[in-house]
């Protein structure tokens, strides 16, 4: 983008208040630190895990071996496909519904008032508590698990989206009106761009909750997917094999968050420009 390249370098801009802020790292340094932190955790785990009973903790090299085994015999692939289906469906429906309802509630006082108490009540009730009812309604299949993930995802998205629409600068609404903007153009020019950072924040929170939702659903409905792998291997004292799905979930979380951050950087480019 030309705007970013024509700016003076950070060192040429006045210091002062800015110097007390977090200093931004060069990309190379940031990657080095990220890798160092993971390596430190793995090394500590390897040293400590190797010194105690492998049933209690196991260690990274054993987990790596188990990982290869489980990829070879297809158990991991099968479980991952099952979990990702639930995750993807639940997240997609939850995100779409959360954004749509959130936009409506942000723009219309009537819808906001109608939704306020039910949403707050449902948000306060742990989704786990609802699982027996959901099973009663939807059985034990993929639908039930998707509904559980959906319930984990929708609220942070909905609440953040509503907030984003509410935060629209009233002066800019006035500007749009004074230039005779239609409601449709108002959404394109003003409401969506200003709500977008809030929506992305909601989605980021929702990713973490969706992963929790998947495992919870797999534990409490019918055992399947990565949740089943964790539970079954733990019962059989196959600790290394138990850690494989846990590490996979952790990696999923990191990758999904990174992808969303990338999307955000693309979409909210104007914000990343130094002020």
């Amino acid at each position: 983008m030309t705007a970013t390249t024509t700016l003076p370098p950070a060192s040429a801009r006045p210091a002062g208040r800015r110097s007390s802020r977090r200093r931004s790292l060069s990309p190379g340094k940031r990657w080095a630190l990220r890798i160092a932190s993971v390596a430190a955790i793995l090394i500590a785990w390897q040293i400590y895990g190797g010194s105690i009973n492998p049933i209690l903790l196991s260690d990274p090299s054993a987990v790596a071996v188990a990982f290869v085994d489980m990829v070879r015999d297809g158990t991991l692939g099968h479980a991952l496909a099952s979990s990702l289906t639930v995750l993807g469906l639940g997240f997609a429906f939850g995100a779409v519904a959360g954004v749509a309802i959130g936009l409506a509630a942000g723009r219309s006082e009537v819808i906001a008032a109608l939704l306020e108490w039910p949403v707050n009540a449902l948000y306060a009730v742990p989704a786990v508590a609802l699982i027996p009812v959901i099973v009663l309604w939807f059985g034990f299949a993929v639908t039930t698990k998707t509904v559980v993930v959906f319930l984990f995802v929708i609220f942070p998205v909905l609440i953040n989206t509503t907030r984003g629409v509410r935060e629209v600068d009233p002066e800019l609404v006035e500007v749009a009106k004074s230039f005779c903007s239609s409601e449709r153009r108002l959404w394109i020019d003003l409401i969506l761009p200003s709500a977008l950072p809030f929506i992305v924040t909601g989605l980021r929170l929702a990713i973490g909750r969706a992963l929790i939702g998947v495992i919870v659903a797999e534990y409490y409905t019918s055992l399947s997917g990565l949740g089943d792998l964790i539970s079954t291997n733990a019962s059989n004292f196959q600790t290394a094999r138990m850690f494989v799905p846990i590490v996979v979930i952790a990696m999923l979380g990191v990758v999904c968050t990174a992808l969303l951050e990338l999307a955000e950087r693309r979409l909210v480019q104007w914000r990343k420009v130094p002020q």
Binding site: A3, F179, C180, D189, W270, Q275
Partner: protein, 293 residues
Amino acid sequence: MPPPHLVLDDVCVEIGGKRILEDVSLSIAEREFVCVIGTSGGGKTTLLRTVAGLLPATSGAVTLAGAPVTGPSPRTAMVFQHFGLFPWKTVRANIAYGLRVQGRPVDPDLVRRLLATLKLGAVADYYPSQLSGGMKQRVGIARALAAEPDVLLLDEPFSALDAITRESLQNEVLRLWEGNAAMTALQVTHDIDEALLMADRVVVVSGPPGRITFELKVDLPRPRDSQAIRAHEDYPGMRKLLWDSLNTPGPLEAPGTVPETAPGTVPETALERVPEAAPARVRPGTAPLAEGI
């Protein structure tokens, strides 16, 4: 005198049951520059928003070129006090905003010309957050001009700028308006010098509720310039008249002492108060009132 272009006829505005503007009658000729001046909270911005069609008049009527103003119109364009730029649009996109949103074709030549005139060429692809206040308001002005309005509305357009930037931008807007053959302008300000620099006629609004308490025709020669105008012999007298009318609103706005045709009679009172300060050329209240048309 050209026919009246923008007419406010006995306009009252109430917001939440509170009366903000009362019986405001004002008639602005085509290509006239009128400044509304008053203290904060006096209702002058409400007056401008009503003219822009952003606020409905509770009673009375606003007409633009004979047609009643019932909502925002593409024939008016507004410059905002706090710039009102879209942070996610570049300078270029902000300038084209009015045209886009009204479904009118965006002439790249027009945009280029405005970028050049307002010295924005070098920052055409910047986002507003990268600009200084003065630059932001240049964008705000360019956006309003791009819409090629019949009436330019300016809501304290320079009040958020530092003194030096303010003066140079005042001069630039003045030149733009003086060089434009067809544009009527209505500006709100709380700065007497700014009003005298820009306007053909200054209208004092005091409130609440806001009423027109004084009018002053500023027949200083054009083209004007902020430095030259202050040296004009009539300038100090006009300045004092406005200053007095702003500072002693008490008897003027007290109910009962102001007849229904307030703007026509009030200047007499003002002149009586400061007879020696009023130069011969100052003829307050000479502009036609809505009732008189």
